[in-house]
Symmetry: C2
Subunit: 617 residues, 2 copies
């Protein structure tokens, strides 16, 4: 196969004329069966000795190593190459992919998945061509090796620049977060963070857990590292008596043997080495951070550390921090392939660990799977929409009772909901439902019912229902909207349980995004909500629940009975199944969904479903 | 005056024996009228040419400059000196203060306040000897020059190390945050952040506002900077038409003239310089961040920038980022004293601004003042406590009715609250209060009334009150706690308003910390609370309100009437006055305080007040 790298600019990024030029170019290339990187890019590098290709116009060439980098921005690519080198790292492949008329990050990810030279993948993204495809590929790649990604355009101002820069739609940041999380991609926010993480992952094993030991010759930096570790969700446990005893045997009595282990300013290379060896043998520790403030010659300390790690093989993650501007010159290689990365600041080492640990968890956990519900009959649901008189191709909001019927078809428990088209009918429906009842406006155009006074709660007896019906008509007449009334729906009043809101809306490029949150102020004021991209796997609901600050209200709080989160989880998965079957649904919300005490299930009380025009079959 | 620097260790930090040795030493030094730094420290540096003293055992000596540094950790001091140098910064003074038998950070702050060589003060603190004194001094210093402080021991693990390291009590982090905020101290969490901020403050004016222009030769980094700016509370506004027109005159048409201003990869030093000059003239911008990805020779770009800033005097804050490992070698001095600091990563420059801006706001805003309330009669309040039979010296909880009386003495509106000691008395008190009423257990030992079923709400009529009284006696008898009952209190039921909780507790070393939060789940589940250290100035309540996520519930939300936050503010200040007059109060909580619609004030419905033993006069 033949390949092309087109570094020239003046194509799609410049406007309509350039776009046309680019299309002509693309056609020509495809007609020859060639693959192409660019145009408008910095080029590519492959450091494999058998290839040894530098097809970039960068002045800096990074040495050979295990990172593979894809960047949407050529200029940032230049900076990345410089940082690779100055961080004593090296690259397997580098690709600045420019306008991507052919090769995209997705293609590179697929290639790097099985590439033996690539250990860590770094992505700088300004937009997503096809997030669904990215997600599928990234999920399978991140099972094998870490993807560290930076997605810019998080803010509106950033987005403005991103769209003028690459002409791509600024994707909502919430959707990007969900996408990365679901695909096991490590999201970083700064270039520095990217390199902190890359350094940690390139030559050290993933941590098996969150427990960090800190070994330091200076108290202050040890405290800073412990603060950072705890702040980022790691733990700094006290060490076992056995370990403390072993340390006490040779350390001066002023040393502090709790964790951080402070071997004080007089520590020699041998002190560092011996202490490290002992910590490597401690069972209840998953990672070690060594901090050296340069008091004795750094090379002496480095030597002590190298000796210890060569001697004591262990599978803990070991990182080091030499607090001196020349830190980058310190070499802690102890094998042809293994090396303790050296950081300038303690917090940088901790930050690397704080990303490596959740990634390790992701990698070792089961892949989630999409749950199939055999009881769901999509055909019957489609028929329902037709028989209920939904005009073909017209789209629009479903009435509340039809929305509830559709949910019911998908196995989502719904409150008893009946439509009525006169005061008398409402009264008799209410009697059947059992008093007290709620009565709500039925309309396909007025979906915010409270705005027109369209909700009546706690109606006791038929007279109250009839009066409310007349009152509703009066209110709508006053507002000139009586023609939009299509009767009412009547429901029995619900008691108890916790109100939850489940929603879905389409995000440009990303497709349906599913949201869950607790009802009332939790969603609307406190924005205490969690997102996942559709389709949801069986793992997603639990993850979403854990994001909610108000979760204790569901799990039992201050003696209240725990709510039926299992039932809620099932509703979320069935909700996702509904989204899957009806791509015509533009927007959907169950609000409220009442979650009852554990074992008692949950129940949708109201729902709004919007179909896009011209697509309802 | 004579001075001593004692670098030797082996004193207070080693245990009881060392502490004794230290006391002897202190006595001897004081008897000679000498001042002393140390013991157990790295020493001091003074770079004033007339002094030129380096009394440290550090191998690195930082050049002369405008930073003055105080550090509790000598070893960290070594690292700080190294970072000063490698960041092209310099010091006026450096002091590692060790065990502080005499000279403390407070003494240094006072000295540096009027020291002409000191422009920025950096503090590394592991504990506070006297937070009240620190606050007083820091408030007056930070009016004149910035204090950038790092306080370690934020986490429990960090605290463990801090206490074994310096023997100081780990102070609660919330209290430290409040202390720094109230005193205008810039709190940083990492050493890197400290230097990012110091670099920005050392040679550039403070920003007048939050509006940042970003000038870049590469789209990606520009977006990253904009994202970071917006994320940290700055704004990246679009530029005026005039400015865009001026830029368009000489920039290539591919350049992006919105903000970030992307002058693209072909940008020369002249392009940078001209663009910078135009941005310096833009009225609606307070700060400029220049980003250069090294495509053309860095010195050419530096020259263009230096020329522009020398030519166009302006009072905007200008920071630069050269995205290359040699960034630190770039010199953007343009005056004997002025220099644009050069950062390695765009986010570092933004971080510096994000601290400089709130500090500038602090410095230019009025100092708050403690409000005196002439209507408060402390003597009468003391008498109340005596006549109400509070046994002298015994301490303990006040009964709810006495607590309410004390609040009332301090001008805090309280609900009508009457004690009753029999079912009949309760009934007649209830009649006087007006039905429905609330009836609550009155006890000085059972303060969590709900735990024993001690609260009855919405009682209608005398019979219900009597029955409730008997029921309460039964409940307490069943729990074997009937002897702790000292009657009940009766209140009319309240309607409407927003529940708020106000609390105070003593923090070790820090003294009283005042808390405010919305009632119910907001405080207890969501921890949506804000703190200030006592005494509160008139500025503190507003600051505290702004910290609350639930603030819209007070300020009017979804059409609800705004609540009386002015009255709430006054209650907070009166609460602080009460704390001031009665240092004997160990703990105090008004829960709930009902805040009514704007103009209607607020009202304390329940209160718990604990007096420490042996101190009630």
């Amino acid at each position: 196969m033949r390949g092309l790298v087109i570094i020239s600019a003046g194509f799609g990024e410049t406007g309509p004329e350039g776009k046309e030029r680019q299309e002509v170019l693309r056609g020509k290339i495809l007609s020859y069966g060639m693959r192409c990187v660019g145009p408008n890019c910095l080029g590519i590098i492959n450091t494999d000795p058998e290839v040894n290709l530098n097809a970039t116009f960068a002045a800096v060439a990074a040495p050979r190593g295990t990172l593979s980098i894809s960047t949407h921005s050529g200029a940032l690519g230049l900076a990345l190459l410089d940082y690779v080198k100055s961080n004593s790292l090296g690259i397997a492949h580098f690709a600045s992919i420019g306008n991507r008329i052919d090769i995209s990050s997705n293609d590179l990810l697929e290639f790097w998945k099985d590439d033996e030279n690539t250990r860590v993948i770094l992505l700088y993204l300004e937009s997503f061509g096809n997030p669904g495809k990215f997600s599928r590929i990234a999920r399978s790649v991140s099972r094998k090796k870490p993807i560290v990604a930076m997605k810019s355009g998080r803010s509106e101002a950033g987005g403005r620049a991103a769209s003028s820069h690459t002409g791509a739609l600024a994707a909502s940041d919430v959707a990007v977060d969900a996408l990365f999380r679901q695909a096991g991609v490590i999201r970083v926010n700064t270039i520095e963070e990217m390199f902190n993480v890359a350094k940690g992952l390139a030559h050290q094993p993933l941590p098996k857990g969150s427990r960090v030991a800190i070994l330091t010759n200076a108290g202050g930096p040890g405290i800073l590292a412990a603060d950072a570790a705890v702040g980022w969700g790691l733990s700094v446990p006290t060490l076992s008596d056995d370990t403390r005893k072993k340390l006490a045997e040779f350390l001066p009595k002023e040393a502090s043997l709790s964790n951080p282990v402070d071997i004080i300013a007089s520590a020699t290379g041998e002190h560092f080495g011996k202490s490290l060896g002992i910590l490597m043998g401690e069972q209840d520790i998953d990672a070690i951070i060594i901090i050296n403030v340069p008091i004795r010659p750094p090379e002496e300390i480095a030597e002590g550390i190298r000796k210890a790690v060569s001697l004591h093989q262990c599978d803990k993650t070991v990182l080091a921090c030499f607090m001196m501007s020349e830190a980058k010159g310190i070499d802690l290689s102890y094998d042809s392939d293994k090396r303790i990365p050296v950081y300038l600041f303690p917090e940088d080492a901790v930050q690397a660990l704080s990303h490596a640990y959740p990634y390790a968890q992701y990698q070792s956990s089961d892949e989630g799977h999409i749950v199939a519900f055999p009881d769901i009959d999509e055909e019957r649901a489609r028929k329902l929409l037709q028989t209920e008189g939904l005009l073909k191709g017209e789209g629009g909001w479903l009435t509340p009772d039809v929305a509830m019927k559709l949910l019911k078809e998908y196995g989502i428990p719904v409150a008893y909901t009946r439509a009525a088209f006169s005061a008398d009918e409402a009264a008799s429906v209410a009697r059947a439902a059992g008093f007290p009842v709620a009565m709500k406006l039925r309309s396909r155009t007025i979906t915010h019912k409270t705005d027109v006074g369209g909700i009546f709660l706690g109606l006791e007896g038929e007279d109250e229902v009839k009066n409310a019906y007349h009152e509703l008509m009066t209110r709508l007449t006053e507002r000139g909207r009586i023609s939009e009334m299509e009767g009412v729906v009547v429901q029995p009043m619900m008691e108890g349980g916790q109100e939850v809101i489940i929603g879905m809306s389409h995000y440009p490029v990303f497709g349906p995004l599913v949201m869950v949150g607790l009802g009332g102020i939790h969603v609307e004021l406190l924005k205490d909500v969690a997102f996942s991209l559709h389709p949801l796997t069986d793992k997603d609901p639990d993850y979403m629940f854990r994001q909610l600050k108000g979760l204790p209200l569901l799990e039992g709080w201050r003696g209240s009975t725990p709510k039926d989160t299992e039932a809620l989880k099932e509703v979320l998965l069935r909700f996702s199944a509904l989204i899957d079957d009806f791509p015509e649904i533009a927007e959907m919300e169950i609000n409220p969904l009442i979650v009852f005490d554990r074992g008692n299930g949950c129940m949708a009380v109201d729902a709004r479903i919007l179909f896009t025009p011209s697509t309802v079959q």
